[in-house]
Amino acid sequence: MKYMIMMFGGLGASLIDRSPEWITNMQTTMMRMDRELRETGEVVDSRHLMDPGQATTVRFQNGAPAPTDGPFAEIKESLAGYWIVEGSHERAVEIASQVVAVTEYPMEIRRMMDQSAQE
């Protein structure tokens, strides 16, 4: 089974009041975990997103798509990145818990739908 583990927050502006030690610790933990999950083959894919400061939101307004500069959600609630892992739900929760223990930012775990008909 594939799960997407999404991280919210932890981007540019939300780091303003953190100490260099805290940031370094957070970053090294994330990199170490990413490396370990790749080595065990559990990570199918992982991506980081740029700061939402330069995001564009396209809404349907007055019967037409209307792009506007700016993110859809508040920066604290913006998607910062995700892992797609292969494994059990318990394992996905375990991975997310290890990250949250360090970052303190929330993570959401969602099972991915099966698309095997296409493969």
Binding site: L11, G12, A13, L15, I16, D17, R18, S19, P20, I23, T24, Q27, T28, M31, D34, R35, R38, S46, H48, M50, D51, G53, Q54
Partner: protein
């Protein structure tokens, strides 16, 4: 031992790929179909050679398999190809144009009608001999996406009616400019992403150097080709020192220079010495000369900044642009102080071309820090961190900002240094 055999075989395959493709296209036209046939032959070799050993005449082996694939394709395609099939079976050998073939291919793949991503992908496949899966992995896109991109690029080349010959003399310089730009993009694509999930992209840098080396061997008189090769070697020489074991960026001034690749530096310098003055001096040679000056300094403090600034002055005349102004501002700051550098940076504020890059803010942050304005520096670091698309750079910039946040809050900005 086993893997070494495989690697040698793969290196040989990649070197032969453009030669075989060139010979095939020269004989049959149809770049499109020939390219597919060569890919199949490469695949067959990847499977058979490690098991059975490399054949005695690997080039002929590949050419035979590719030709057979092409004929099979035509036979199943339709009977109207009968004439071509007969011609393909003609055993007379190629006409001695082989050495030029890779160059013709390079010009074809860097056809101005193609978008830069298509030029990069097609060059890697047809000239570099990489598989679609390898190229997709290097650019971090799904294989199906890359297959479509390459398919469309080939279609586009067929539509333009481009022939398998070198561009005519009056177009040659312009077309060479496109080729060099593609190779330069390829190099940067590999060089700017240098850690974590993107580690394997270092292969792109090596591939860019290999193809530029090939390009230089085939046209040794083109000074800008030599300049680009020198620039790549002199820049790539610092790779090992550019990131620490965590994958974080180490700025040039803080790098452990004993980690620099002395062999690559020597080769780059020799190339440059042999080139400068032998023909027109273009932007790649000037940038290579700047890189060489950095590489020559055993410690950062020995860097010959006045000479570097003089070269940036020349570059600003030969190839003016906001990126050159930005680099020149750093040199100005090193020679005349951070305030002078900041003044030059100010001229870029209204430039739309800088609106989507973090570099302007990153440089401003460094200069503000040097000038004794920690508050302003911190804000610029944070702005730059929000704008960068590179993870290692984002980490570096965020950390620099955070390291300035412990400073006591000032009610008024520090006065600029009186120097």
């Amino acid at each position: 031992m086993q893997s070494e055999t495989v690697n040698t075989a793969e290196g040989l395959l990649r070197e032969l790929a453009p030669q075989v493709l060139g010979a095939l296209v020269r004989r049959h036209g149809q770049f499109d179909a020939c390219e597919d046939a060569v890919q199949e032959a490469l695949l067959a070799a990847t499977v058979q050679w490690p098991a059975d050993g490399v054949p005695e005449r690997p080039r002929s082996w590949l050419l035979t398999v590719a030709t057979r694939t092409l004929i099979d394709h035509w036979r199943t395609d339709s009977a109207r190809r009968r004439r071509e099939t007969a011609a393909a079976l003609d055993p007379t050998e190629g006409s001695g144009f082989e050495s030029q073939d890779a160059l013709v291919l390079l010009f074809l793949c860097c056809h101005p009608a193609l978008s830069p991503p298509s030029q990069l992908a097609l060059t890697l496949r047809a000239v570099g001999g990489l598989s679609t899966a390898q190229i997709a992995a290097a650019f971090l896109v799904p294989e199906t996406t890359m297959a479509q991109r390459i398919g469309r690029a080939k279609q586009r080349i067929r539509d333009t009616g481009a022939r398998f010959v070198l561009p005519p003399p009056d177009e040659r310089a312009g077309r060479l400019g496109v080729v060099l730009h593609v190779l330069y993009l390829l190099f940067n694509e590999g060089y700017t992403a240098s850690s974590g999930p993107a580690l394997h992209r270092a292969d792109l840098t090596a591939e860019a150097i290999r193809l530029t080396r090939l390009s230089h061997r085939l046209q040794p008189g083109e000074t800008e080709v030599a300049g680009l090769l020198a620039l790549m070697l002199l820049t790539d020489a610092r790779r090992a020192a550019r990131t620490d074991p965590d994958g974080s960026i180490v700025p040039l001034a803080d790098q452990d220079r004993t980690l620099w690749d002395a062999t690559a530096i020597a080769e780059g310098q020799a190339l440059l010495t042999g080139t400068l003055g032998s023909g027109p001096v273009g932007p790649y040679q000037i940038q290579a000369a700047i890189a060489a000056l950095h590489d020559e300094a055993r410690i950062a403090e020995q860097t010959d900044w006045p000479q570097i600034l003089a070269l940036y002055d020349v570059l600003a005349q030969v190839a003016p642009g906001p990126v050159v102004t930005l680099s020149r501002a750093v040199a100005v700051a090193m020679v005349n102080g951070p305030v002078a550098g900041l003044a030059l940076l100010g001229t870029l504020d209204a430039d739309d071309r800088m609106a989507h890059t973090h570099r302007l803010e990153a440089v401003r942050a460094h200069l503000l820090e040097q000038a004794g304005h920690p508050q302003g520096a911190r804000e610029s670091y944070l702005r730059a961190a929000r704008m960068t698309a590179s993870l290692p750079e984002q980490r570096y910039l965020t950390l620099r900002a955070a390291s300035l946040s412990d400073l006591p809050v000032r009610s008024t900005p520090a006065p600029p240094p009186s120097s």
